[in-house]
Every structure is written in structure tokens, then in C-alpha cells.
Subunit: 359 residues, 2 copies
């Protein structure tokens, strides 16, 4: 029977959690909740499901330096190093080539490295259902998260509920919908047949490579040239030069939204969050009666629904509402929680001011 | 001719500038504006007007430890140590006793240690006018500041403008008015005959001691007993025990508002501020076009009229208005500027929580 491989996508370098996350220490490698980093949690979540030798970390050589010390249970063989950043499709293609080479029937479980899962047992059960569906139907399988609010920051998937040839929690996907506006999001969640796209994908390596051939022929061609040089003294040079030539594209745009192959969605009821914003991180905590969440030492007066993330000093709030305060050794951010998406802009501003040392 | 002595009141320990000011480093000894502390500025402001040997710092022994290193030009003889905190009247009484002892005709210029004066030349000219008025009329003389806004945090003095026997800038005070509400403050400033009470007083030592005898007989009695023991081995013990028995009272309540002796007010046009709140400190700066004042390193996005006081890190503001941010090595305060008067309450709260190390 074909084996199951995990591909953890750990090359991202967002700015949404500045000043907690930094250029050299992106979100997935910092401890946002608890002691482990989100990446460490992602790896730990696979324990008993996928053995370490079948876990691959897709990242770049810079981030590997930060990641490797966090994952002492893994070795160099566990890393798939991308020579340049080309978004998710090329990265998944490279991983699929690698897995197909070692196991022609191998099944890939593609996992973001910076998401949160509260119920690990439920997560593992869902992976097993998804792997079974990918194996049996040679389908593209995704995890759909039942939405709990009209979130405008996520993509959605519309599905046809139930099918006699599928398990109870597996459905056929009808359409992918990009991040909606508020009205559309409200319509989506009241319809009941739109789930959040978790960015978790399960399929045979051979299946996704066939999709590349059909829908991303240029990318596929470059990947095949890389593959051909594998084992030769030219390999690394070929990888670097050819990968750089590949056009950046996400797996959603490149494959999921255009494929004719059946896409199956497994219901993911395991307390998922993409922890994609300060706002979302705040929601992961249980606030006091005043709605304040204070990580570190703090005190408040006439303040509610504030989120303080500060480790090195006493933080005192007076008369604030819905405010985010992030205090790190060399930078302090203060921003209404509902404007936290503008953190990207302030990061750009600091960069433009030539103060990269704070980024 | 009688000599002029300065008595600088430096015993205060307010909490309005927490977390910048602390229990052990009150407002007058910290550098709020520029490099010098407000107390250093107060002493420097007397240069050329009153020689060092006639400057007295009224404080307590704890604060003297912080003050003395800031004023290397002064010696122990310049300090009048209060054994306990008894508000301004007893402190002024003790200083008056001391000055009368060394100079029966001595004139006292009583100055708060934590005020700001932008025009030192104007200040010195005003002191000279006031000293002359105190000498000639044996009056109680105050400095009245022409109000620039309907401030509710100051006391006011109503005066009768002009008098043939007085210089142009000297007026007779009719009434003292405590901190008014907004409507009353508006009425005061539109009337034109209400000036701010600066807390600066000028009079003969003998004059104020006569006032004590009449209006504060208990205090006067204790002060006389202290005075009688001066030079004896008992002096220090007498000072400590008798001063402790003196009832706390301010010079305004105890003398100014009840005396029948003429009170004269000299117009103080020298760019005065009591720097009594964060709000008022903010007003001392010239903000950028967006109204933001950032002391330290900072950057803003969609923010206006904010005041950042932070020295050790980059402060980034997004979407804030009229916000005060004070960042010190072990404490951070965030508060709307117009609620900065509640800082006292948060200090009480931190104390109640047993976290004195932050105070």
C-alpha cells in the first residue's frame, strides 16, 4: 500500500504579526500560543500518523537556519530547500517530484506551518479520511472548515452535500470562492454549503504532477528538467537556475480553480485557525469579563476588549477599547484591533524610512 | 536694604506623570523637556537674580538624596529638610523662620520646583517688580498668569485692574477661586479680570509669620517652639516631634483665602506652565502637521494628535487619535490624552495589586 508523506510549507515570511514576527523570525517559528512555535506544533501534530522520515519541510535556506534548531528530531533529509520564493504551486510541484521519486504511489499531505489546531485527535482522523479518499478516488482532496463567522480574510469552498459513494464527512467541491466582501461572506455562511478553505491538501504525488502537466505546463516543464538532472553533479545548479525561471503562482489559482478532476472536501472539525491576524490570535484566548487579554503583566482601568502582548514590562491601560498593544524588546505597536490588517502598511513605511533594523 | 531669598518647594511626590515619574524620582527631578530637570531649571532661572547662598531647597531627606547630585553648586546649608510632609503652609512657615533668623528684613520668593518658564528674562523682571511691591507695601504678593484657555486644573485669582499707587503690571487681588468647572472657567477667562494662580509667592518673612500668628495660630505655636530650640542640642528632636504635630494645610487655604492683608498680583508674562499633566506637557511641544509629538523613535499611520514619550524602542501607531503613550524601561502606559488625569487611579490600582516595584 502507498505510503503517506507530509509536506509542511514553511517558507512564508509575512508581516502581519510585526513586531512579534520579524523578517528573520516569521510567524511559524515564533511561540504565539504556548511554548512551542506553530511549526513545532504542526510537526508534533503528526506524531503517530506520519513517521519523521516521511515529513518534509519545504522552506528556503535562510529560514532553515532558524527552523532546524526547533526540530532536532529531523535531519537534512527532511528539508526541501526552495532556491527562490515562487508561491505554493511550484513548491508543491517540487515536493511532488521528490516524493514520486522515492515512492511512485506516495500520497502527500500538504500542511501550512503556521496554523493552529486545537483537537489533534480530530485532525488525525480527518487526515486518515482524506488520505483514504485521495487513494480510492485519485482525487484532489481539501479540508473544509465549517465557518463560525462571516470572515472576509479566508477563501471559501462551495460543496454538494453528501454522496452515496463517499463517507459522511466527505463532499464534492463545486466552486472555489476567493476572499469575499462582508455581504457575500454573510450569504456564504447562511447558505450552509460554503466552508472555509484551510489550505490543507491531500493527493497522490502522481495526481498533482498530472495536474501540473495539464494546467501549468511551463512550470511542469521546468520541474521535469530539474528532475532529470537529479543525481548528476549539475543538479544543484539546475535546481537554482530552473526554479528561478518558474512563474510564481498559488496552487489555488494554478490548479484548484481550473481543474476538471474531482475535488473532494473533508469536513475539518478540529478547532482550526489560520491565526492570520492579531485579531484572530486574540480570539484564541478566553478573555476576562472585561474582554481584555493580557499576555505578560498588565493592569487596566475603564478598558475593554483589548489585547496586550507584552513580555518585558508592566502595561497599564486607561480608557481603551478594542486596542491592540504589542510590545517587543525594540518595537512597540499600538493599533485598534480591527485595523490590525494595516500592520503590513506600517512595516512598509518603516522599510521606506530605512529603518530595517526594526523589521 | 533687605535681601531676597528663594525658597524652592521640592518635596512633592505626585503620581500624575507615572510611569515617567516614580515614587523615588518625582516630576521635579526628571528631565521632561530638554536635558535639565525642572528643578535644575528652576535654580538656573535665578542666576544673576539671587545668589546661591540665598537659595533654599525645601524638601525631605529622601528626596534630598536624589536632588543634591543634581545641584552640585549648592551645599547642605541650602537645604531646609522637612521631617514630615505637611503641605505648603508649614513648609513655608519653617522657611520663613529660618530666613527671619538670618535676616529679620528678608524677603522670600517662594517657587514651585516643577514649573516651566520659557522667558527667563521676563521671569526675573517680574520677580523684581514683585519684590519691590512686597517691600514697599509689606503685602502678600503673587504671580498671576494671563489665562490662555479655560483650564479647570488651576486656581484663579480675580483682581481689580490698575491702581494709581501701583506699577502698571501690579493689581490688587479681590478673590481666590479654586479649580473651577468648565463653564465657570469660561466665564473667568471671558471676564478678563481672572488670572491663573501660579503658586509663586513673594513676601517678607516677617509678614508671613505675622499671618501665621493670626490665621494659623496652632501651626505658628509649634513653629515658635521649634525656633526656640534652635542652636540647642535638642533642636533636631524638637523639629521632628513638633513638625509632625503640625496640621497639614496649604498656604492658599491657610492664609491667602482668609487674610485681610492686601494681596497684590504681578502679571506674569513669561511663558509659564505648571506642566501639571501629560496633556499640558504635550502642549509644550510644537507638533507636526498631523499633531503628533513623538519623543524618541516612532512612525505613524492614520494617526493624529498623539503624544509618544518613549526612549528605548521604535513606536508604531496605526489609526490612533489623541492618544498618550509613555514607554519606560519597566512600564508602559497607554491612555487617551484627555483621560491622562486618571493616571493617579491606575497608580493606586497598581499599588493595591501589590506591585509597588512599578511605582
Amino acid at each position: 500500500m502507498s505510503a503517506v508523506y507530509a509536506v509542511i510549507m514553511a517558507g512564508g515570511s509575512g508581516t502581519r504579526f510585526w513586531p512579534l514576527s520579524r523578517a528573520k523570525t516569521p510567524k511559524q517559528v515564533i511561540s504565539m500560543l504556548g511554548n512551542k512555535s506553530l511549526l513545532q506544533e504542526t510537526v508534533a501534530r503528526l506524531k503517530g500518523l506520519i513517521p519523521n522520515e516521511r515529513i518534509f519541510i519545504a522552506t528556503n535556506r535562510h529560514q532553515k537556519k532558524v527552523i532546524a534548531p526547533q526540530l532536532p528530531e529531523l535531519s537534512d533529509n527532511n528539508y526541501l530547500i526552495e532556491p527562490s520564493a515562487r508561491n505554493t504551486a511550484p513548491s508543491i510541484g517540487l515536493a511532488a517530484m521528490h516524493i514520486k521519486r522515492i515512492d511512485p504511489e506516495g500520497i502527500m499531505v500538504i500542511l501550512p506551518s503556521d496554523h493552529l489546531v486545537h483537537n489533534v485527535e480530530g485532525f488525525q482522523k480527518t487526515v486518515k479520511v482524506a488520505v483514504e479518499a485521495a487513494r480510492k478516488h485519485d482525487a484532489l482532496v481539501t479540508f473544509g472548515i465549517p465557518p463560525t463567522r462571516p470572515e472576509t480574510g479566508y477563501g471559501y469552498m462551495q460543496f454538494s452535500p453528501g454522496s452515496p459513494d463517499l463517507p459522511e464527512t466527505v463532499h464534492r467541491v463545486k466552486t472555489f470562492a476567493e476572499k469575499p466582501n462582508k455581504a457575500t461572506a454573510l450569504r456564504f455562511i447562511s447558505s450552509g454549503d460554503f466552508y472555509w478553505n484551510s489550505g490543507i491538501f491531500i493527493w497522490k504525488a502522481s495526481r498533482i504532477l498530472a495536474e501540473f502537466e495539464e494546467h501549468l505546463p511551463d512550470q511542469s516543464h521546468q520541474l521535469e528538467l530539474i528532475e532529470k538532472s537529479y543525481g548528476s553533479p549539475n543538479y544543484l545548479r539546475s535546481l537554482v537556475t530552473r526554479y528561478r525561471r518558474i512563474r510564481s503562482i498559488s496552487i489555488d489559482y494554478g490548479v484548484m480553480e481550473v481543474t476538471k478532476t474531482p475535488i473532494l472536501m473533508v469536513e475539518g472539525n478540529f478547532g482550526w485557525s489560520d491565526v492570520g491576524s492579531w485579531d484572530e490570535l486574540y480570539r484564541q484566548y478566553t478573555p476576562g469579563t472585561d474582554g481584555n487579554v493580557i499576555i505578560g503583566e498588565g493592569t487596566t482601568l475603564d478598558s475593554k476588549n483589548c489585547f496586550v502582548y507584552s513580555h518585558d514590562k508592566m502595561t497599564a491601560l486607561i480608557g481603551l477599547e478594542n486596542m491592540l498593544i504589542v510590545n517587543t524588546p525594540n518595537a512597540l505597536l499600538i493599533c485598534p484591533l480591527d485595523k490590525a490588517q494595516n500592520v503590513k502598511q506600517i512595516v512598509e513605511k518603516i522599510r521606506a524610512e530605512g529603518k530595517e533594523k526594526y523589521l
